[in-house]
Symmetry: C2
Subunit: 239 residues, 2 copies
DNA sequence: ACCTGAACACCGTTCAAGT
DNA sequence: ACCTGAACACCGTTCAAGT
């Protein structure tokens, strides 16, 4: 069964098997592989296979597996730079600016549910680079956007902190809910697991309610609430 | 250098090397190991070494490495059941109840920064069990607590969703900020990395501000704001 | 009943060697 | 200049064998 999936991925890459290796080509293939098979299935040897090359060849372009994964994060992140909604500066107020940033990051997350945990949980190389905003360009854009809207340094940093926390929690949950967790075999619809529901009558009764996917509404409500909070703080401190 | 650390861990376990293996003993040792060395360093063979046993012996008590990690999550989670602040029912209103739950989970997170990502990011076996509340007991307690305070089913579930998102984002960030990321060698104080700060003048200027650790205040403010939001929704819907 | 030795298949990574 | 073969150290896991 995993073989079938692997072949599918290989098939997609075979036409380009003759063009020479490059760091970019490797990273793209790695992201494709992760999208299809998950991070833990990504192996230097298998990735070599997908690219029609021995694993050892990859080390010419990539120092090692850890760095490869960092590179995948960069690849993901730079997809966002092409997103007009995100790369823009605030033209319709900072509320709109935050809305567009948030939805831009969310789009990347749900486009790559299996890769997003990499962006989210990889340890940042600098304390001021908080996941999931793992790009200095984003952070620069984010902070300078807020400053241009009249936020003080302290306010902008506070918003940055609250915003990253909001994104990380909500998107990680949404992504794992959307079958980021599905392993090699995807069970159609798992039966309500009876095991462990002993002594949990409320959870059992609310099961259907709890299983509903309200992630977009949650996301928007939570974002709205964050923006409200910021509005209050900004106005009460006289900005 | 890793050898020294390993010996330290072994030293702590040597006195009990003669008492027989058990699932519980294995899980405790695994958690200790992760606290000291991190998840990725935990190996069946090394864990066996710590317990004075060959790796193969562990398979009598644990089906495999993946299940071992799940067991570590359970171990962590059940530490919270001993926490009086958390296991109590709401006696001083639901706001106080949420406050105590939140701080209880936070205590576990910062007591085990390297293990917490396991609780946070491991895929839940059921869609209604959202990280980091990866225990049916907690969820049961959480939901029934809210119901007993007059919340409707829908409201309780909505609060559950918002609360888990809040906890996950904030605690994950806090934990990775607190050297959950420190590898085998802990650099005393990393120099401000100049690389990549080209074209990021705002980030560079705000560096000191961004590096400050405000995690407790952030956590409390964010929680306060969440509670405010819930209060508004509850009162506006006439509860 | 509990633990171990030996083995298997598979990793990441290095490096001398091929073309 | 770019890729490969062979090798090393280390994994998770199985299973027949020891005690």
């Amino acid at each position: 069964m995993p073989d079938a999936d692997l072949l599918a991925v290989q098939g997609r890459e075979v036409p380009s098997a003759r063009i020479p290796l490059s760091r970019e080509r490797i990273l793209t293939a790695a992201l494709d592989f992760i999208d299809a098979e998950g991070v833990s299935a990504l192996t230097m040897r298998k990735l070599g296979g997908v690219l029609g090359v021995e694993a050892m060849s990859l080390y010419r372009y990539v120092p090692g597996r850890e760095d490869l994964l960092d590179g995948v994060v960069d690849t993901l992140v730079s997809q966002l730079d092409l997103d007009e909604d995100v790369l823009s500066t605030p033209e319709h107020g900072w509320q709109d600016f935050l809305q567009r940033m948030a939805h831009g990051v969310r789009r990347v997350a749900i486009a790559h549910p299996k890769a997003f945990p990499l962006v989210a949980s990889t340890p940042p190389e600098a304390p001021w680079l908080r996941p999931p905003l793992r790009s200095i360009r984003w952070v620069e854009k984010f902070l300078s956007g807020l400053l241009s809207e009249g936020f003080s340094d302290e306010q902008a940093v506070a918003v940055y902190r609250a915003f990253t926390g909001f994104l990380l929690g909500n998107l990680l949950l949404e992504v794992s809910h959307r079958g980021g967790a599905v392993g090699p075999l995807d069970l159609v619809e798992e039966e309500v697991p009876q095991r462990g529901l002993r002594d949990a009558p409320v959870v059992e009764r609310l099961g259907p309610l709890l299983s509903q996917d309200e992630s977009l509404r949650e996301f928007e409500e939570s974002l709205e609430s964050l923006i409200d909070r910021i509005t209050q703080q900004v106005s009460s401190s006289g900005a």
